[in-house]
Symmetry: C2
């Protein structure tokens, strides 16, 4: 599925105009068989697979810009991307696009929504928040077989109440450098909006993590640290103490990829889209990041 559609346009190119329309795509995927979202030479990626399917159906190359550049093994049920296509193509192919894409895409990735978006809709820079869910089971018998694709088995039992206490201090605007994979010139200052942990029946522990945006590995770093608290290996105060760090902490364990699912991305009302995009760009692209974050 990895056709030659991984064009090397900059990810932050301006919307095309002159007969082009901007489309919003809603996507879901099982990350198990993908080397992450972003196109990489010789790898099966979500971006490469969906761009190849769009190229088949629309008979032209299409470039996707995405809200969350998920890593290898990470899933999505609420990923969002945008693409620009000629108005004539949209008028001709729009009504059947969803069904035709379903026939071309492999079953581990689905485009479950395609709609005309305002020209200043930007899946990446206009997003107000991303929400992820992380699923674990600490039951002695393991992980429910039908959910083993997106649920991590944890061999030690977890104190969810201790995790909740540790998580409370991480909420808000902080420099999350300690939790993130280093990127030159990139800030790790983010607003963590939600960090909820819940114990469900059957040994299941589910974390919901929401921020305006995440730097690379941030969700899995946060979850990894909090699991250290939940196991009793680290004091409740430890995760908050890492906020003072000015570089990535080697003590931060990164939780396994396959427990993580991007479930939702929110955007402002149409009228506020360009203001939001301008604000995000100003804050995060003063200097070019080698690999864009989301």
């Amino acid at each position: 599925m990895q056709a030659a559609t991984g064009m090397d346009e900059p990810a932050d190119s301006e919307p095309e105009t002159g007969g082009f329309v901007r489309l919003r795509l809603d996507l879901s995927y099982d990350g198990t068989g993908f080397a992450g979202w972003a196109v990489q030479p010789g790898q099966r990626t979500v971006q490469g697979t969906v761009e190849a399917a769009l190229a088949v159906v629309l008979r032209r190359p299409v470039h996707l810009t995405v809200a969350g550049r998920t890593d290898a093994g990470v899933h999505a049920s609420g990923q969002v991307a945008h693409a620009d296509v000629p108005m004539t193509v949209w008028v001709a192919d729009g009504p059947n696009l969803l069904r035709r894409l379903a026939g071309v895409l492999p079953p581990d990735v689905r485009v479950h929504g395609i709609a005309l978006a305002p020209p200043d809709f930007d899946a990446r820079f206009a997003a107000l928040s991303r929400r992820y869910v992380y699923r674990l089971s600490d039951a002695p018998w393991g992980v429910p077989p039908l959910r083993r694709l997106d649920t991590v088995g944890w061999s030690r039992s977890l104190d969810v109440e201790a995790i909740r206490q540790a998580a409370a201090g991480l909420i808000g605007l902080h420099d999350f450098t300690a939790f993130c994979k280093h990127r030159p010139y990139a800030t790790a200052t983010r607003t963590l909006q939600v960090l909820d942990w819940e114990r469900l029946p059957g040994g299941l522990v589910v974390a919901t993590v929401q921020a305006d945006a995440f730097c690379h590995n941030m969700v899995r770093g946060l979850v990894g640290c909090l699991l250290g608290v939940g196991e009793g290996r680290r004091p409740v105060e430890w995760p908050v103490s890492l906020l003072a760090a000015t570089e990535r902490s080697g003590a931060v364990p990164v939780a396994p990829a396959h427990g993580l699912t991007l479930v939702d991305v929110t955007y402002p009302d149409d009228l506020d889209l360009s203001a939001r995009t301008a604000q995000t760009r100003a804050r995060r692209t003063d200097l070019p990041a080698l690999r864009p974050e989301s």
Copy 2:
């Protein structure tokens, strides 16, 4: 995993006594990689896999009797079985059995509960009801990737209200011969207790089907007929009209296996177990069935 543990004891053997205890096992599995529950020569089956794991952990052959003999491709989250083991084995190995089995079993089958049961607990004959769930998506974009193991994609859109009307007339005590795969000398008279259909967000349609017991292929036959109504190919009255048949109807389509999951089995209070077992045996085993139903 298919060790020589598929003993040829009759499935309805009396509980062993004299130093033996009866165990209740609660199981879940992803049916995708199994040729069904029941041991078959040269096939990977759930029974064969779990009996082999028990044999490793308990260092002796163990025979399982199950509540629902699921077909190839059918899943379970609430399957129940019983086994008889020497009291000495249970005392020695009981406390760590769940965790040790988890280490020996493959990830597509889990034993999520093991407990001492009354001697007259019979996973098959003492059951009061079995509940199955059938999952479909009629969304034009297909099936959510992370639930594609247990959700069937349906290419035509379904009228769930029409299905509900057709289903209402099937509730109660009936001869379901038209919906079942023929078994010599076996009655197909069952009490259908629940046949609910629900439309959920995201194009999902979920049926819940509960009866005192099911004959072979009965759930998938019921679902297949009702889908004919839901598609508009059959009148609402058609499924009920089949109840008058005295042999299997060739018009009954069998819905695909992988949408079906056994989710729950209920039993009477301990004091009523042997009465229930005697009642079920009298009704269903006057003549030997070639292959026991559940």
